[in-house]
Structure formats: structure tokens, C-alpha cells
């Protein structure tokens, strides 16, 4: 009898094939960013000059994207966690309706949401010209992910008991919310933060509509470079994205796992 651990050779081969198919474009893109001339292939030799050029032209967008994602996570924490709690505890029909509305920006194309924001708030020049406008777009798009993830954790029966236990010991709302409930759903909050960060860093649809030449993010810069520069520059940009964002994401994920292990439920 075969144990489940021993996969059949056919299955292994299929897995390897699919993995190769998925990894090849990444490898090609990375390679293209390091070649002197993509059309002449490896014969043209390897170079880092495209990377340097990208960093000189678009370096600012990398920092902007990371800063924006950080701010977006913070805003989603402050807005989303209390909102998730309120929705989890409310039994009213309005709460369910609000939850539906909140999720709408995920389904509606980003371009439409962005257009609506511009139509409504575009006239406020101070806001329109700042990264704040892009941030609002990102929050609109990422908030439902935070609310859904954390809300599901708040809804568990044991969380209700935890809250009742804290109440029986005399805890006021703020004491039990910050001292008991938030720590108890911390793993969900951490995973919500990671999702929000990841979504914000890669967000293009909304950002493309909402940005100004002075408020560009990494994906918008990427589009710009693809449209206006050599293929090698665009590919080098992808490489920059991978080099900067992946370590940050891995770091955050590691941090999340560490917290979960330390505070494990």
C-alpha cells in the first residue's frame, strides 16, 4: 500500500511542469532586466546599468509604496478592528447591509471606485494633489479584507465567553477590548495586516486613476516605464520590485508567525 506521502511519479511530473510554467515568466523577466540587449539574448552580456537607471528615475516610488502601504495598514487597523467588532456583535439588518456595502469596492472595478472618489472629492485641491488621496483609495479597497478577517475571529463563540468572563471580573469596555479581545484575535489581526499591506503594495487600478505625476507608486511607475522606456528597463523595474518588496513581505510574515507562536491561542 502506498502512504499518502509517496506521490505517484505522474503526479510529481505534472506538479513540476506546472511549477516550471509558472516560474519561467518570472525568470525571463528577471533575466531581461539584467541583459544588455534583450533581442540579442545572453550574447549581449549581463549588466546592472538598467537597475541603476530604474533606481535613479523611480527610486522614490519604492519608498512611496512602502510608506503608503504602512499608512494603509495603520488606517485599516484603526478603522477596521473596531468596525469588525461592532459588526460581529450587532444582530441588526443594517449591520448586514453595511457589511455588504463595505465589500462592494472589492467587486466593483477599481477604476469605477476611483472615478467616484475623483468626482466627489477631486475638487479639494490640497487632498487631490497629495498621497492622502491615493491612501483613501487604498483604504476603500483594502478595508473589507481587514474587517472580514478580524470579524470572523470576533464572531467565534469562545470570544463571546472571553468577553463575558472579562465583564464578570469588572472590565469596562475599553479595558476588555484592548486588554482581552484584541490580544485574543491578534493572529487574525496580523494576517489581516499582511493582506492589507500586500494588496496596497501591488494595487494598480485605483492608484492609476488617483495618482498625479508627483504622487506615483511603484506599480504606477512600473506601468510608466513599460509604456515609455526600453523593455530592459521595465524588466529591471520588476526586479527592483521583487528585491525590495519580497524581503519586506517575508519579514512581516515571519514577524506575524513569531507573534502567533508567542501569543498562541
Amino acid at each position: 500500500m502506498r502512504t499518502p506521502r509517496q506521490a505517484s511519479p505522474a503526479l510529481l511530473a505534472l506538479t513540476a511542469l506546472v511549477a516550471l510554467f509558472m516560474l519561467a515568466p518570472m525568470a525571463m523577466s528577471v533575466l531581461a532586466g539584467l541583459l544588455n540587449n534583450y533581442s540579442r539574448g545572453l550574447k549581449s552580456g549581463l549588466t546592472t546599468r538598467w537597475l541603476v537607471e530604474v533606481w535613479d528615475t523611480y527610486g522614490g516610488t519604492v519608498l512611496a509604496s512602502l510608506g503608503l502601504a504602512g499608512a494603509c495598514v495603520l488606517a485599516c487597523l484603526l478603522l477596521g478592528v473596531p468596525c469588525a467588532y461592532a459588526l460581529a456583535r450587532s444582530r441588526s439588518r443594517w449591520a448586514r447591509l453595511f457589511e455588504e456595502l463595505l465589500t462592494l469596492p472589492v467587486a466593483v472595478p477599481g477604476l469605477a471606485s476611483a472615478l467616484a472618489l475623483i468626482l466627489t472629492y477631486g475638487a479639494w485641491q490640497g487632498l487631490r494633489q497629495s498621497y492622502g488621496f491615493v491612501l483613501i483609495g487604498h483604504i476603500v479597497f483594502t478595508l473589507p479584507f481587514m474587517v472580514r478577517t478580524v470579524g470572523a475571529a470576533f464572531q467565534r463563540d469562545e470570544l463571546r465567553s472571553l468577553e463575558e468572563a472579562a465583564r464578570s471580573l469588572g472590565a469596562r469596555f475599553d479595558q476588555r477590548f484592548l486588554g482581552v479581545l484584541v490580544p485574543a484575535v491578534l493572529p487574525a489581526i496580523v494576517s489581516g495586516c499582511l493582506m492589507v499591506f500586500t494588496l496596497s503594495v501591488g494595487e494598480f487600478n485605483l492608484t492609476w486613476m488617483l495618482h498625479t505625476p508627483l504622487t506615483r507608486t511603484l506599480p504606477v511607475g512600473l506601468a510608466d516605464s513599460y509604456a515609455s522606456m526600453r523593455l530592459e528597463v521595465g524588466s529591471a523595474y520588476t526586479l527592483v520590485f521583487l528585491l525590495v518588496i519580497l524581503p519586506v513581505l517575508w519579514g512581516l510574515q515571519g514577524l506575524g508567525r513569531l507573534m502567533e507562536k508567542h501569543l498562541g491561542t
Partner: protein, 353 residues
């Protein structure tokens, strides 16, 4: 640790849920200071609703009154009621150590650190968790968690201790051991306690008095022995142990007897309209088959370890279950004599007043 002993008066307390269902019909119950009272009944009988009303987790209907000692707590929220509560799955704070869990209530009250440490230490000794103070709940066994939950609940010196099915989350073997442990701890704390359970063994072992509940009402209140031996309501008899149902035909009812083979047992005249009577398996005595006792045939013999359960067949009666000593010689197919003391019979339907 000396705790306050508070009298609890529940006066005409009722609970109607927003959808119109009656969780609890108007109920009056008095709990003596330092007494452990069990609310016992099947699921949906209203025992948890009553506990949550006493706790202040639910508000009762208009006209209900709840008193702790001389204080009217009917409209006080749980935070200000001074109750300690042990939850079904303990509800320990997962991110806090054992010591932090026990000291949580004291920390909230801003007790001096030295005082917190002293009380936590005293309780850790009391519930025998020494050496585990810095563990997290996830690293404890079920029994240890239960003791942390109890220590946390009494650390703030509550006026009343409430236990919501405190042993349900444990497996059968551990349950029995912890049941006795819990009973002993409650005796040592000497605190007024209300204990909700659906397990009659647990209620009998832990509580001073039992309130048996059915369909949102208390059916009978009393100490375990009284309820078991002299139930006022058939539901109490059937819920607090096993019973046989014996049939009475019209003739037997008219003549106020129960026919058991060739024997007739006298019954009180008030049972004239009872078509069935209840009889506990352990109240049936077996003897040699003689002319002056009822005769029965052993249909089945089940060896259950400390006792043997026999199924007996009597004329005009359904199969009757009897408990006998494990060394009893009766085998399937034997004929045995059956003796029943008439005072052991119980009515199967509520006697209309």
C-alpha cells in the same frame, strides 16, 4: 481565603426573548448564604437562562426582582454585580499566564502589586497549581484549566459564584475525579454558589440542594436524597435516575392496587387515575420463587462490572429492569421471586391538585 456569604433571592424572575419565546417562566427561588445550589435539567430547560439572569448577562422581564443580600441587583450590569463566573469552556485569557489570569480582576481594580501577588499566591496554593504560574492556558490540562478558571473567579471576592457546566469539557474518567475536587473546593471556599448542569450525578455530588428544571420552570427544589427518594413530580423521578414503568389496568386502578403477577400491592387512592407507576431498578428485591411473592422469568442477564442487570418478564407487564449484586446466581431462563415495598412506587403522571 474567607469570602462573603450572600443570600440570593430570585423573586418572580422571568425572561422572554425578543422573538417571543419564553426562556424562563416567572420563577421564585431563595439560595441560603454559603449554599451550593444546582440548577439541573435537560438542555433547553431554562437553567442557563436563569444563571445568566443571576449573573447579569441577560436582563429579566419587567416585574422580576433579584436580590444579593439586601442589594437589589435587578438592573445592575454584570460588571457591578460582584459575581464570579466559571464558564463551560473556562474562557481563560489565552495570551495571559496562569498568574495573570487569576490576577486580572485585581489588576482592573487597581489593587497594589503586593496585594495582587499575595492573593494570587494564596489561590495558586488553594487550587494546587504551584509551579504552573507562568504557563499559558494552552499548556495546561483540562483539569488545570478548570482550577485556574475557579481561582480567577474567586480572586475578586465575589458575592456569588456561578458555574456554567464546569465539567462538560472534560472526559468521563477525569470528570468524576474533578467533580469531587470541585465539591471539596466549594466547601472550603464556603461561598454562595449556583451550579448549572445536565448531569444528575454531578449535581448530587457537588450541590447542597438541587432545583430540577423543565421547560422554563423549576419543578422541585430540595436536597438530592429527598428528590431521589420522594420526587413530587414524575419528571424529577425520571430525570434523577432510571425507572421502570409498570402498567395498571382499569380494574387495578378502581381497586387501588398494582398487579404484580399473582400479588397485588396496595396504592394510595389519590393514584386512582394513574395508568402507570414508576419503580427504580434498585428497589426491586429478588428472592426464591415462593407462593407469597410475585414470580418472574429472567429474560436477559447483563454483567456491568460492579453489578448485574436483569430483564424480568412478569405477566401483563412490560420487561422490567432490575439491579442485583454481581454474584447473584440468576441466569437467563430462571424463574425468580420478586418483592417490592409498596412505598417505593411512584406515580408516572403529575397528580392534579
Amino acid at each position: 481565603m474567607e469570602l462573603e456569604r450572600t443570600r440570593v433571592d430570585i423573586v418572580q424572575c422571568a425572561k422572554t426573548y425578543p422573538d417571543g419565546t419564553r426562556g424562563l417562566h416567572p420563577t421564585t427561588l431563595h439560595i441560603e448564604p454559603g449554599e451550593v445550589l444546582a440548577l439541573l435539567g435537560p438542555s433547553g430547560c431554562g437553567k442557563t437562562t436563569l444563571l445568566r439572569l443571576i449573573a447579569g448577562l441577560e436582563l429579566p422581564d419587567e416585574g422580576s426582582r433579584l436580590l444579593f443580600g439586601d442589594t437589589d441587583v435587578t438592573r445592575l450590569p454584570i460588571e457591578q454585580r460582584g459575581v464570579g463566573m466559571v464558564f463551560q469552556h473556562y474562557a481563560l485569557f489565552p495570551h495571559m499566564t496562569v498568574a495573570a489570569n487569576i490576577g486580572y480582576g485585581l489588576r482592573l481594580r487597581g489593587a497594589p502589586v503586593a496585594e495582587q501577588r499575595r492573593v494570587v499566591g494564596e489561590l495558586v496554593d488553594l487550587v494546587r497549581l504551584n509551579g504552573l504560574e507562568h504557563r499559558r492556558p494552552a499548556e495546561l490540562s483540562g483539569g488545570q484549566r478548570q482550577r485556574v478558571a475557579l481561582a480567577r473567579a474567586v480572586a475578586v471576592r465575589p458575592r456569588v459564584l456561578l458555574l456554567d457546566e464546569p465539567l462538560t469539557a472534560l472526559d468521563a474518567k477525569l470528570k468524576e475525579q474533578l467533580r469531587d475536587e470541585l465539591a471539596e473546593l466549594l466547601r472550603r471556599l464556603h461561598i454562595t454558589a449556583v451550579h448549572v448542569t445536565h448531569d444528575q450525578q454531578e449535581a448530587l455530588a457537588i450541590a447542597d440542594r438541587l432545583a430540577v428544571m423543565q421547560a422554563g420552570r423549576i419543578v422541585q427544589v430540595g436536597d438530592g436524597e429527598t428528590l431521589y427518594r420522594r420526587p413530587e413530580h414524575p419528571f424529577v423521578a425520571t430525570f434523577l435516575g432510571r425507572v421502570n414503568r409498570l402498567q395498571r389496568d382499569e380494574d387495578a386502578r378502581r381497586r387501588h392496587v398494582l398487579k404484580l403477577g399473582r400479588i397485588e400491592l396496595p396504592c394510595p387512592p389519590v393514584w386512582g387515575d394513574q395508568p402507570q407507576l414508576l419503580l427504580r431498578p434498585e428497589d426491586i428485591e429478588l428472592c426464591e420463587a415462593r407462593p407469597d411473592v410475585a414470580e418472574a422469568q429472567v429474560m436477559q442477564r447483563r454483567f456491568l462490572g460492579e453489578r448485574v442487570q436483569l430483564s424480568l418478564s412478569l405477566p401483563h407487564q412490560p420487561l422490567i429492569s432490575v439491579d442485583v449484586d454481581r454474584d447473584h446466581p440468576a441466569r437467563a431462563g430462571d424463574t425468580v421471586g420478586v418483592r417490592v415495598a409498596p412505598q417505593c412506587l411512584m406515580p408516572a403522571e403529575a397528580i392534579s391538585a
